[in-house]
């Protein structure tokens, strides 16, 4: 049994690629490392980083407040004794706010002197109000106990320490006014934080970039005369075009499978409805294939494809919401972003991962992507055929 001619061309193209260790680094190693790093960084998107300066020799009330801030679900805290180091962290944007407890905090409160806690916020963050409000809520709970202890000791001379212990014990059962937050919608229009953010966006980014860089292999095959030699055999230019296109598609699909697999197994990403996710992966691979084969006909040298391709891929990724959610950019840039296919793919992944969408709910982005894939594939295969027969 002989291999059909287009598949033989595909196999030859894939063999050339697999032997190229640099290409394998970009296809296999780099995406995984990028997903890891961006996933780790994006993990804290939903928590506000706060520093708490507790001066040396502070009493139990100060320490307790630092602990309670650390337990707040919206905050992640670091405790400092050195105010200068904490201020540097704030200036660099490592912290969004700094809580500075005054010296003698415990003694002053026990003596009934009101205390002001310094709340330094960073201009680096748009979260100033949110962090201020969260901190005030925690401070308010401690202040309530201190107020109650002081009130009781004034009323009946029971002593601040004893009253404070009593107030602390009573507090959980005496909440008369509670706050309850209700969401009016079912899901966000941005991807979840952490690896569920980095894995789908990097799938979109890397499949496209590697497809563009893969154009170099087509140019090299042309330069080495592989296409000319193949044409000496009884096969048509169409067979070579089909073979090369299939090779690009197989590569894009393999890379997608790798990212989906590692995302699910190593990083615990839930890719959503399997049928919808699989369809999206295939359609995106087709978009990448079209763009990749096109790059193999537009660039003149493998160096050009290898150098300019990734730059275009990164710029498209930025425009299309792979590097940051399009929700945070200006409305004009959100519209402009949807000129590149990436924005539609990220929209579709967001629907699948954040809103539990199915195939029907991503029909619109899928259709747009399919249209782009058809246009790119038609243009690129026509150009490649023209280059081979020339």
């Amino acid at each position: 049994m002989t291999t059909p001619a287009p598949l033989a061309v595909t196999a030859a193209a894939l063999r050339r690629l697999v032997r190229d260790r640099t290409a394998m680094f970009f296809v296999v190693v780099l995406p995984v490392v990028v997903i890891l790093i961006i996933g780790l960084t994006a993990r804290g998107f939903d928590k506000l980083r706060v520093g708490v300066v507790v001066p040396d020799g502070s009493g139990p009330l100060a320490t307790q407040l630092a602990e309670e801030l650390g337990h707040d679900p919206t905050l992640t805290t670091t405790t400092y004794t050195d105010a200068a180091a904490a201020r540097t962290g704030l200036r660099r944007g490592e912290l969004v706010a700094l809580v500075v407890l005054p010296r003698g905090y415990d003694t002053a409160l026990a003596a009934g002197r009101p205390q002001q806690i310094g709340l330094l916020t960073s201009v680096q963050s748009s979260d100033q109000q949110a962090v201020g409000a969260a901190i005030s809520a925690v401070v308010g709970r401690q202040a309530a106990r201190v107020q109650a202890a002081h009130f009781a000791s004034v009323q009946n001379g029971s002593g601040f320490g004893a009253s404070l212990a009593r107030a602390t014990a009573l507090q959980p059962g005496t909440t008369v006014v509670g706050v309850h937050t209700t969401l009016v919608d079912t899901g966000a229009s941005t991807l979840p934080a952490g690896f569920s953010y980095s894995a789908p966006t990097m799938l979109v980014l890397f499949v496209f970039i590697n497809a563009l860089a893969g154009g170099a292999a087509i140019i090299q095959a042309r330069q080495l005369g592989i296409h000319d030699r193949a044409m000496a055999a009884p096969i048509t230019a169409r067979t070579i075009v089909l073979g090369e296109t299939l090779a690009a598609l197989v590569l894009a699909l393999l890379q997608s499978l790798l990212i989906v697999g590692i995302g699910a197994v190593v990083f615990g990403v839930h890719w959503g409805d399997p049928v919808a996710a699989a369809t999206l992966v295939v359609v995106w691979a087709l978009v990448g294939t079209g763009a990749g084969v096109l790059s193999g006909t537009v660039f003149r040298t493998p160096e050009q494809a290898g150098a300019i391709g990734p730059a275009i891929g990164i710029a498209f990724g930025m425009l299309g919401g792979c590097m940051w959610p399009l929700e945070i950019v200006t409305p004009l840039m959100r519209t402009v972003g949807h000129v590149v296919p990436h924005a539609w793919a990220v929209d579709a992944w967001t629907t699948l991962l954040s809103r539990g969408g199915d195939l029907a709910s991503i029909a619109r982005p899928l259709l747009v992507l399919a249209g782009m894939a058809v246009a790119l594939l038609a243009l690129s295969t026509l150009r490649l055929r023209a280059r081979i027969v020339r």
């Binding site: 680094f25 944007g93 205390q115 709340l119 748009s126 949110a130 009946n156 919608d185 730059a311 200006t330």
Partner: protein, 388 residues
């Protein structure tokens, strides 16, 4: 050393003719800086409009609305009365309101009795900050009411007679929480996206020069050019120095273009000129040394490409050129300081946030130390025989 200059000059001429180098060195970073600048055009301060559905119509409901409308909060929220919870839901859903509060019927009587009264905050997934700010405002209102009640109960529990309850309630209503927060800032300058990504993307693309330089060294070997050069009184180290020098000039041209264009057209802040220039020069020097190292390590043109790509991406990933490293976990922030570009970004962040020019000293020294180690390794490797 003259030979190194000649080789560098020839390489640079080739590089100018090779459009891909120009694209990577100048056009790509500018294109990406433009995209970023457009994406993050205006990042104003936070303000939102909240709705209030006051079904309570008693004193606590009125006190809550008065707190929201207080001058202290006018910078943060604008308050709008809404008739029904359903309408409030719709307005929040349609993003006409950042969030809404519902004070239910019987809120005040419940709070004065033993039942729990609840302020409901209606928020949407996409307006997380407005939702959190609103929840926290409701929490701080609740804190005072709850504190007053806790005060009465604590007094009763520690010995005050139950007969004095009415007196205690009246007295507690005059209490104010003894701990408050006082806001301030540390006088830092705002770090904008363009100010961070201009140097970070500039360095990223400048690092591509490492691959170009190292690759061209091995291309010269394949074409026999290198043998011809070595037939002249030129040492292998001088050839490597020439390659490094061309990366140095290419890198300087690339980063300086980026600095000038982003400063003039996009208002990127690179920091005080001498300090920023020192950082730029140091990081370009490091790239030049890395070029020589990759050329000396590799054994073929393909290997040079592979090693350069691996080194470049390892450095930019660890060094924080793709992510705002300040908001990364501490481990990543520490790892970034193992790379020269991580130190450069640390220096630029310090300069841009107003730390003063002296903040560049430590990063420059760290980058120079890295460069010295790399140059030492190159010197050792260059002693290996050239012929394969």
């Amino acid at each position: 050393m003259n030979a190194a200059l000649v080789i560098a000059r020839k390489d640079l001429r080739q590089r100018v003719r090779d459009r891909s180098a120009l694209v990577l060195g100048i056009l790509a970073p500018l294109l990406i800086a433009t995209v970023m600048s457009a994406a993050f055009g205006s990042a104003g301060s936070f303000h939102t409009t909240v709705g209030v559905v006051d079904q309570d119509r008693h004193e606590l409901g009125a006190a809550f609305v008065a707190m929201l409308r207080s001058p202290d909060l006018s910078d943060v929220v604008t308050v709008r009365s809404v008739a029904t919870p359903a309408e409030a839901r719709r307005l929040v859903h349609d993003k006409k309101l950042g969030a809404a509060f519902v004070l239910p019927l019987g809120f005040t009587p419940a709070a004065h009795g033993t039942a729990t009264a609840r302020i409901e905050v209606l928020g949407s997934s996409d307006q997380a900050i407005a939702r959190e700010v609103s929840a926290a405002l409701a929490e701080s209102f609740a804190a005072q009411v709850n504190a007053d009640r806790l005060s009465v109960l604590t007094a009763l529990a520690t010995g005050t007679s139950a007969a004095r309850t009415a007196h205690l309630i009246a007295a507690s209503a005059r209490l104010r929480l003894p701990v408050s927060t006082r806001s301030g800032d540390i006088g830092a300058k705002r770090l904008t996206a363009i100010s961070y990504y201009a140097p970070s993307m500039g360095i990223f693309f400048m690092f591509f020069g490492i691959g170009f330089g190292a690759r061209s060294y091995w291309l010269e070997r394949r074409s026999g050019n290198l043998d011809r050069m070595l037939a002249a009184p030129v040492r292998p180290a001088e050839v490597l120095a020439g390659k490094a020098l061309s990366t140095l000039v290419f890198g300087l041209a690339s980063l300086l273009t980026m600095a000038v264009v982003t400063s003039v057209f996009f208002d990127a802040q690179w920091g005080p000129l001498p300090a920023a220039a020192a950082l730029v020069f140091a990081i370009v020097l490091a790239a030049a040394a890395l070029t020589a190292l990759v050329a000396a390590l590799a054994r073929s043109e393909r290997q040079a490409d592979g090693v350069a790509s691996t080194v470049t991406f390892a450095l930019v990933l660890l060094g924080g050129n793709f992510v705002f490293v300040s908001s990364s976990p501490e481990l990543l922030r520490r790892l970034a300081l193992l790379t020269p570009n991580g130190w450069a970004m640390r220096g630029f962040v310090d300069l841009q946030s107003g730390a003063g020019a002296s903040a560049a000293v430590q990063p420059v020294l760290a980058i120079l130390a890295f460069t010295a180690v790399v140059a030492g390794a190159v010197a050792l490797l260059a002693r290996r025989p050239v012929s394969s």
